[in-house]
């Protein structure tokens, strides 16, 4: 589904990603771990199409097609979803309106009619329940004054509504208490299927207790330096990153 080959990315002349390879097939859950500054968030932003980053080499293919020249919205229409580490507040735009517009723009891109209001409401109610969200939440301005947990739940709610092929969760666990973490992880697991894939970016094992990865990759200094199964995450939790740095020397 996602195939990244020898990806190199710069921002303001500084190389952040230095030749990264990663392949994610449908049905898989991949965890990307690594110390601060390793390039984890850059990777997620580049896949989603953020144009502040300059791709200086390599390719990103999604469903067999090169997506490097696609605008972020076109990548979204193709099925890429990025859950932000810091979701943006947009005063004056309600959650309902935002999600309605997002869904209908995606449908439009696929040549489909706008979704009927009643179908949309039904779908929204269903996904709200999945994420244990209050109905009043829907009429609030998006992310404005939301607690950390509410913001992340709102991200996963949008993911549930948009039903992407590839969901990239960028530190979705940061700022969450134990209960919120359980709700968010539960939401992700319910949405998981044989046909979609998840890429989880995290510092901590605790999210991976709930969203169990098939593969764990260690991103260090712009490259994936080690890959393994879920046990690698446990090992990292236990020993930190220093032993990997030692191995690299």
């Amino acid at each position: 589904m996602l195939k990244i080959q020898d990806l190199k990315v710069e921002i303001e002349g500084k190389e952040i990603i230095k030749g990264l390879n990663l392949e994610i097939k449908k049905g898989e859950v991949h965890a990307i771990m690594g110390p601060n500054g390793a390039g984890k968030s850059t990777l997620s932003a580049v896949i989603a199409g953020r144009d502040e980053y300059e791709v200086t080499g390599g390719t990103i293919e999604f469903d067999g097609k090169d997506i490097m020249d696609l605008a972020p919205e076109e990548r979204a229409h193709a099925g890429v979803f990025l859950s932000f580490q810091y979701p943006v507040e947009i005063p004056g735009v309600s959650v309902t309106n935002f999600i309605k517009t997002a869904i209908n723009e995606s449908r439009k891109a696929k040549g489909l009619e706008a979704m009927e209001a009643k179908d949309l409401l039904k779908l929204m109610r269903e996904k709200q329940q999945l994420l244990e969200m209050d109905k009043a939440f829907m009429s609030r301005s998006i992310n404005e004054g939301f607690s950390g947990g509410e913001k992340k739940r709102n991200e996963i709610f949008q993911m549930a509504m948009l039903d992407p092929k590839l969901a990239i969760l960028d530190e979705t666990d940061s700022g969450l208490d134990i209960d919120a973490l359980r709700i968010v992880a539960n939401g992700v697991n319910k949405l998981k299927s044989e046909d979609n894939a998840v890429m989880v970016i995290t510092h901590y094992q605790r999210l991976l207790d709930h969203i169990v990865p098939d593969f764990v990759h260690v991103l260090f200094d712009g490259k994936i330096v080690k890959s393994g199964d879920k046990n690698l995450a446990l090992e990292l939790e236990d020993k930190g990153y220093d032993w990997i740095k030692q191995e690299l020397k």
């Binding site: 947009i90 004056g92 309605k100």
Partner: protein, 442 residues
């Protein structure tokens, strides 16, 4: 001959023509107005109050001074500019002249909606009581208007009466051959406990230049409620100078909501004062400009009595080479304790060439008051745009969405659903938004 001299010269002829039909009082006011205008002339950028707004280009043109009505207009020509979803009283002026056949006046026991000319030629007591008493007659544009204005809207609501329909006033310019200078005048008298809502629109239908100088005097009685929506949706070939003066009594509430959508030059002078305590004045405005246009909002809220509240919310989105001015003056005099005065001016500049000059001016002489002002100038948030794009919303729609959200809270005080829908659609059209706006929660 320059425009000032042309106006001074034409005044003699004007007074000869009108002498028979106008009262001594009106004639005196006209003469005083002309004297002030003759002494001061048109405002220039050397004056502090007009520092950012160049009227010189507008007055260089050769204007036709005598209004001539164009009767070929049908109601279908003006319907697109009116709120048509509801019953309303209508006053239609074409090239500065009242058009009775397109209008729907009200002459009831408890309220009047009619042409101002009928009021002053009818020796109306109310007219004599208020005309020229609320406006600052020392301002040259007001003085000029007082010298010549004959036509305009007269809305008089007697104590306790509620006008059952929206009052729509539309000033159409349709003179295709010549540049037109119009002096129009509104007088709104809303007595104690009375209520009325008014929509005033200035619209040019032609490419010949139109310069409109409008003065509005509004008196709002005790416990009365008054809302005035102004849609300044002119074509590029227009100058509009609007001077509005509101005096309101105890426990009354007012709203002046301005939609400034361009024109070559638009200047709004909005002046509020309170004659009784516990009154509330609201000023909302949205300015959406592009091209080489300028809109200047000057507000002055004079708190001279205690316990009153004023709220100003001015928002502007400036594209291309357009320019905005906001000068918000709030005076809290010594006796005006417990005043709440709030002022907010938020601006989005979409290009490097767009500009805004914004100046809050608070003068506070009382010591127990709550006053605040805030001003922001920014661009569309890239972070927010990427966030929306990443959810599948194309960049153009994302921008429109953000702009609409930015402007949205200036629409919150519109309570008539049909009017709200019309004004939302107007804003949306200006912003090129293709969203299903009726369902947007504003």
């Amino acid at each position: 001959m320059n425009l000032k001299d042309k106006l001074i010269n034409s005044f003699e002829q004007f007074t000869q023509n009108t002498n028979g039909s106008e009262s001594e009082d009106v004639r005196t006011k006209r003469a005083e107005g002309m004297a002030i205008f003759a002494a001061q002339g048109f405002p220039t950028m050397k004056e502090e109050e007009w520092k950012y707004t160049p009227l010189n280009k507008s007055i260089k043109r050769d204007y036709h001074l005598k209004s001539h009505e164009n009767t070929s207009l049908r109601s279908s020509d003006i319907d697109p500019f009116l709120c048509t979803g509801i019953d309303s009283y209508r006053l239609v002026f074409v090239n500065g002249v009242f058009n009775k056949s397109l209008s729907n006046i009200a002459c009831q026991d408890t309220f009047f909606v009619t042409n101002l000319k009928d009021a002053y030629t009818g020796e109306s007591e109310v007219f004599n009581q208020y005309f020229g008493k609320l406006a600052d007659t020392q301002q040259s544009m007001v003085a000029l208007n007082t010298a010549f204005a004959q036509e305009g809207a007269f809305v008089y609501v007697k104590a306790g009466a509620v006008v059952d329909k929206l009052v729509q006033i539309i000033y159409i310019n349709n003179d295709k051959s010549e540049a037109q200078l119009s002096q129009v005048r509104n007088l709104f008298v809303v007595e104690d406990r009375a209520e009325v809502q008014i929509l005033e629109r200035h619209q040019s239908l032609t490419e010949a230049y139109a310069f409109t100088n409008v003065v509005t005097e509004t008196s709002v009685g005790k416990e009365a409620h008054f809302k005035h929506f102004k849609v300044q949706n002119n074509l590029d070939e227009t100058t509009l100078v609007d001077s509005t003066f509101v005096r309101q009594g105890a426990k009354s509430s007012t709203l002046v909501d301005t939609f400034a959508f361009g024109g070559d030059l638009t200047r709004n002078n909005l002046h509020f004062e309170f004659s009784g305590e516990h009154a509330e004045a609201n000023m909302d405005a949205i300015t959406l400009l592009k091209g080489d246009t300028i809109v200047d909002h000057h507000t002055f809220v004079d708190h001279a009595v205690p316990n009153c509240q004023s709220n100003q919310l001015y928002k502007g989105i400036y594209d291309e080479k357009s320019k905005g001015v906001f000068n918000g003056k709030v005076m809290v005099r010594k006796d005006a304790q417990k005043t709440n005065a709030f002022q907010q001016n938020n601006n989005l500049l979409l290009t490097d060439l767009a500009a805004i000059d914004t100046k809050p001016q608070l003068e506070i002489f009382a010591d127990d008051v709550a006053c605040s002002h805030g001003c922001t100038i920014g661009q569309l948030d890239d972070e927010a745009l990427f966030y929306m794009q990443s959810r599948g919303i194309p960049i153009k729609e994302a921008k429109a969405f953000l702009m609409f959200a930015f402007a949205g809270d200036t629409l919150k005080n519109i309570t008539i659903p049909e009017l709200k829908e019309q004004l939302i659609n107007l804003v949306a059209k200006k912003l090129n938004v293709n969203l299903e706006l009726n369902e947007l929660d504003l």
